[in-house]
Subunit: 436 residues, 4 copies
């Protein structure tokens, strides 16, 4: 095969697509303009026309040689490519090259009017822009901005067509330079479509065509207005989604606390907790967010997060990788505000904790004296997990803390699967005395 | 019974309903027009009037002979049909046939004015259109488009009535041909209702009737505008539902990864996974989607999907249908991106996998050498399910993969229920050596 | 106590509240009007003014003698009522009765202007209307309509105040009859606020007051427009909630089926199932809907529904009420479309079924011959629940069916709690032979 | 260090920020105004200009000495502060102080025009206002009002800039006093942007600049309109969130009850129940609301709520705190309407109840005679939990009740962990005879 099939995501192909899109937009602007203002196809306009003809023709050839992607797989078989193209955009593309065969020179043989209208066939090519913009909208993450830009683009194009139509309907005074005539028509269109309606340019009341055209333009204006407002509303509410669901949660707990006449101090702590969640993670619950991922990606993600925490724990230094994976898949994230009691002396323990962020105090029996302060990478509460005893010290946060909890049921299961590790844990626990 | 009861979904009946609807629309357009423009009921108008009379009368007769559906059951008992009709639309229908009894000839005996107004009774028939459009909206899947079309229809009808009202209130100059007068009135209505308000046609400031009429028209305009925008917003947000909830999921996981300072490589893989889900199934989770269906339909659906997968597995070739049903009801769909490790050498296995789409590599102990490549229809991981041992090979995806997982707990239950199948599985596992 | 405390929900009190609200609306309409148009307080206006004075004064007295409800409990203690009223609406009410002490006769002593403005104090009474409308909105189920009506009411009131303001600012030509002047001002207000803006009445460009007033009116217009559209959008999306969530479910399952290339026949059946759910219960799942209720109300509700079904089953005829309650609390609703196989010969049974609506066929071994047809009130599938055997017949629906399923685990638990009932079931099962 | 670092939440710093914001707003209003109206920088304007210069310069100095908060931690290291500021707002701040170096006196050396335009550099400082407003929006709970105020602020600022632009484009007649010229321009802007468009001031049709400027202003108007409506819609739907989800729940249960033909009496009771939930807790479920909190805060909250209830129960008077915590964490909130049967004679009991609000009757075997009435702080139903027996009395609510239920499974677990408490419970149960 002399020419190999072009990859659709080849950068040169993407650049070409951008070029074609620009040409289409130009064609869509120029074609109705030449008709409405009865411009002669000479000079720069003739050059532009010829360039557009060539670009559109080349685009068809290139299309027949470009692979396409279906369900994330690239198809490079020429027969399939041809089939796909012929039952799709080919016809719009072909129609758009029609002016090629009625060359500008046809003005010499009296085909002026027809040649001009034939250029309207290029409007079909707008589908290409439509498809490209759609693709852009689908693949970008910051889709809200893209969406608004696409919307503005379509509005301006539609207004352009309406303006050209108004000129053709005779709604703009003749005898002015073409540029000003078009500007006045565009001005009238925006004034109408934006429902401002100054009334300085109005249709001739005895001209049915102009009246009907104005009615249609106004209806299009209403639809465009609805479309603009619908889109902006939708973007605003998208921007707000996480904030809204967070505020609703907050309102719910506050309604509840107000109904139950909870003291102000507690209300303030609960709100503080929620605002901490909002500040640091937009109110999302980590554990459930991660739970949606399939096991292998979840593991990769958790390894990236927990590697440092786990490495800092002496306990896990010699553990084998399979055990570490088991532990990481089962850690649960919990957030605390300053002054919270993570562990209560005398309670029956059900969890051990790793400190991911922040610091905690180990308190003596008087619940006042600080015996020790543990910081990031430390762990506590493991003894009560080995035997079912009561916590023998209270642990209180000094700071906003992100802890990871390891539940007893899960912990036991893991120890059972890895007997050597169980021995290590027991040993270290004995060395540390009877804290936590 | 000479005439049998007509089925409501008989195609001829549906065609008749469409015809009646068209006639109603015509009647609603013509009736106020003749009054506002004081047209004589002669020539084509007289013919149209007579046809409408006959059609509406025939519709009442047909109604008494058409069954109706309540709670998905057809009622064909004439007594019930009569009862249902008499307590429903009959009265609107009957009123609409009133002009029949004040025939067009009444103009001869000086009843002109009354006869004209009596035609307004036909507006009641609009309920039929309302009901039919509603039915259309309820039963179509692409309800958004239908909804917008219905909205446009009501807007144009309302504008028509306002335009006729404006002519009657004397807001449009007399002495013009009736067509142009109506067009000007309609033009004024749209200009007002669309809130454009050029101000080229305004009410007479000393005419209280015209001022009040204009105020009412403007208020209707505001309501219509709100209705249009509300509908378009709602349609836009409906179109967006699945995309929005997908983007929110993505934002959530990305917020989390940013907060936890996850390395870029992992971030890219997680995003790639989500975009694969979006491209292939709009972000929906298959398992929970199917879980909503009742058992029998779920089974039918799963059989349609899994038949090929199951047939390709040698293991299930001789299994009895009851066993296959049990297996199919318990498969869980999981998606993987290229390079994921589905199974990790050394982990304790809890699932076996069927490949529905894509291909995976079986890796040697060095985690590099590819021992074998499995493709669609293959299965792996079954040994670890028979005995609780560790995985003896790592399986890594080559491609975007859709796998079906069969959980050990479920697997054991099924084997217990089908002892012959348990034997087959064990045998094949031995033949394959100790892979997977 | 001579006068007993009035109940707030006493019908006479409600009627009085309605009367007061009407008077307030009248006062709010009349007060600014008399000022703007400089009307003399004579004739009917004087009568109206006196009546308003008396009604507002009486309202204060009545208020001090009306109990109030807080957290669904009626408070009738006069001291508490006084306290509640004095820290609430009393001040607005008191201010509104101010004109009482500047009687209309004050015009004689040159207080005309002040007396007129004092009447504006009655605008404070609008809070009463606000509170009453709010209460109406809270307690009605069809709150969407009420909400729109309340919105229209506020809009018209606001427009009235703007119109009066415009007259005072001199924006309407003098020398016309007062009625027409007001109408023109109201016409200008609506034209402006509805953003129509004909431009036939505009502020004097050299009059700063009129310019500023117009700017403010336009901004109020924008806010009102936003408020109208926001409300209508919200109402439309409320009306749509259940339909939207249903359509989304449908889209999800159809996306899935398209991706998995499920045959058309199955697609049609699945859609048929969902439309049946929509037609009969708006797509809601009965079991989860009822699960939200507390036990006692749930029981009452389920008894109302299942009494007939349960009575029709011979099995339960002699069962004691406690057992029936246990059974009813544990039935699960399932819907089937025609042709579904509820039970499959050879499967291991896990549920028995009661037919609530529709009919099913019991099929012979050839899966064709109909052995029997069971209809509403019948039950089947109970044998497989007693012993863990396979189903010995296939049961296929003839019709759209609503069945209630009783799960084996639950069934066994109930039987254990009621040994006498267990015996009855076993006996009947033997009589019926080995069907189900 | 001579000057210590300023705390960002120091009240004096906050006051300074407010002052700076006000100065920025002044600068943004004055700068374009002086250019558009070609005002001389003399008198009060010169004073204002100098003050602004000084404030902006001081702000930069202060910025270099103010700590900042990142992830809820205060950074006070000067090097980090400098780095943070230099890569952020410093450049906008620096540009805004540019006019400082082109002093007002430059008018003497012919730099008038440049000096005037240089003042536009102050527009950059608007970022400060943007950031401050954003911070305000983030941290306030009543964010809806703040949001609307911020919106109005931006709209008025934008309109101000457009008005100044229109004056510069020559769209307002010259030769009027500057104040009136600006007012007319602002009037035109609002008329255009609010899409009212009276048409009393329109651009010169032969002036391309004015036409283009008007088109741009109208497009900005459409965008602003969309922004206003989008925001108002969003605020309205936020206000409505809890009501909407409540109404949907209500609609769901009512649809279900209508389909199942539930008697009116039951329908009324179910609705009464839901309205009670709405009145007292906006339809939220307490248990799930609290479940989202981490253990330590949940405990604090539950202690605040249940302390009184628990203290009122004789049973718990001598219990140790660890046990009380266990009990409190496991109580479940249930609401009842008057006449509900909380416990049914003969049922197998699974829960004991504490009365938090309301009162219940203990009924004799005839289900009529009231044996006793229990009120707030009482408990019942504990016997059936100790042994698996049937309830020996029916308990019916007199009133709207909030009860807390303690499930048997949980109850047993707690008793097992606290043997001394188990003995107390058994003892009290015996004393009370065989009630409940």
């Amino acid at each position: 095969m002399v020419i190999s099939v072009i990859q659709p995501d080849d950068l040169r192909k993407v650049a070409w697509d951008v070029l074609v899109s620009v040409c289409v937009v130009l064609a869509v602007i120029i074609a109705p303009l030449t008709i409405a203002l009865r411009l002669e196809l000479t000079g720069p306009l003739l050059v532009a026309d010829t360039v557009l003809n060539l670009v559109f023709f080349a685009d068809i050839l290139i299309h027949f040689n470009t692979g396409y992607v279906t369900r994330r797989r690239l198809v490079t078989d020429r027969a399939l490519i041809r089939k796909q193209y012929l039952k799709g955009l080919f016809w719009a593309d072909a129609l758009a090259t029609l002016p090629l065969f009625i060359p500008a020179g046809s003005t010499l043989v009296g085909l002026t009017r027809f040649a001009r209208f034939a250029r309207l066939a290029r409007l079909f090519k707008i589908f290409v822009v439509f498809r490209n913009l759609n693709r852009l909208h689908q693949t970008t993450v910051s889709s809200n901005l893209v969406r608004l830009l696409i919307m503005v683009f379509w509005l301006l194009m539609t207004a352009h067509l309406i303006a050209c139509g108004m000129i053709m309907a005779g709604g703009v005074p003749e005898g002015l330079p073409p540029g000003l005539r078009f500007l006045q028509a565009y001005y009238w269109t925006i004034t109408t479509v934006a429902t401002v309606g100054y009334g300085d340019i109005v249709p001739d009341h005895s001209n049915a065509l102009q009246l009907v055209f104005t009615i249609v333009a106004q209806l299009i204006g209403v639809a465009m207005y609805g479309y603009v407002i619908g889109n902006i509303s939708s973007v605003i509410s998208n921007l707000d989604t996480s904030k809204t669901s967070f505020m609703e949660k907050l309102e719910r707990i506050n309604t509840f606390m107000k109904y139950r006449e909870v003291p102000d101090k507690v209300i303030r702590r609960v709100n503080d907790y929620y605002f901490y969640l909002w500040d640091t993670r937009h109110g999302y619950d980590e554990t459930s967010t991660v739970a949606e991922l399939p096991r292998s990606i979840r593991l990769e993600l958790l390894q990236a997060i927990h590697r440092d925490v786990i490495r800092a724990v002496p306990l896990f230094r010699d553990a084998n990788p399979a055990l570490l994976r088991d532990v990481m898949l089962n850690l649960e994230s919990v957030a605390y505000v300053p002054g919270d009691e993570v562990i209560h002396r005398g309670d029956t323990g059900t969890e051990m904790y790793f400190i991911s962020r922040g610091s905690v105090d180990v308190l003596a029996a008087d619940e006042e004296t600080v015996l020790a302060t543990l910081t990031e990478g430390a762990f506590f509460g493991e003894i009560a997990l080995l035997e079912e005893t009561q916590r023998n010290a209270t642990i209180r946060t000094r700071d906003y803390c992100d802890l990871y909890a390891l539940n007893r049921a899960v912990f036991k299961e893991i120890l059972a699967r890895h007997p050597s590790f169980a021995a290590t844990v027991r040993e270290i626990a004995l060395q540390r005395g009877r804290r936590g």
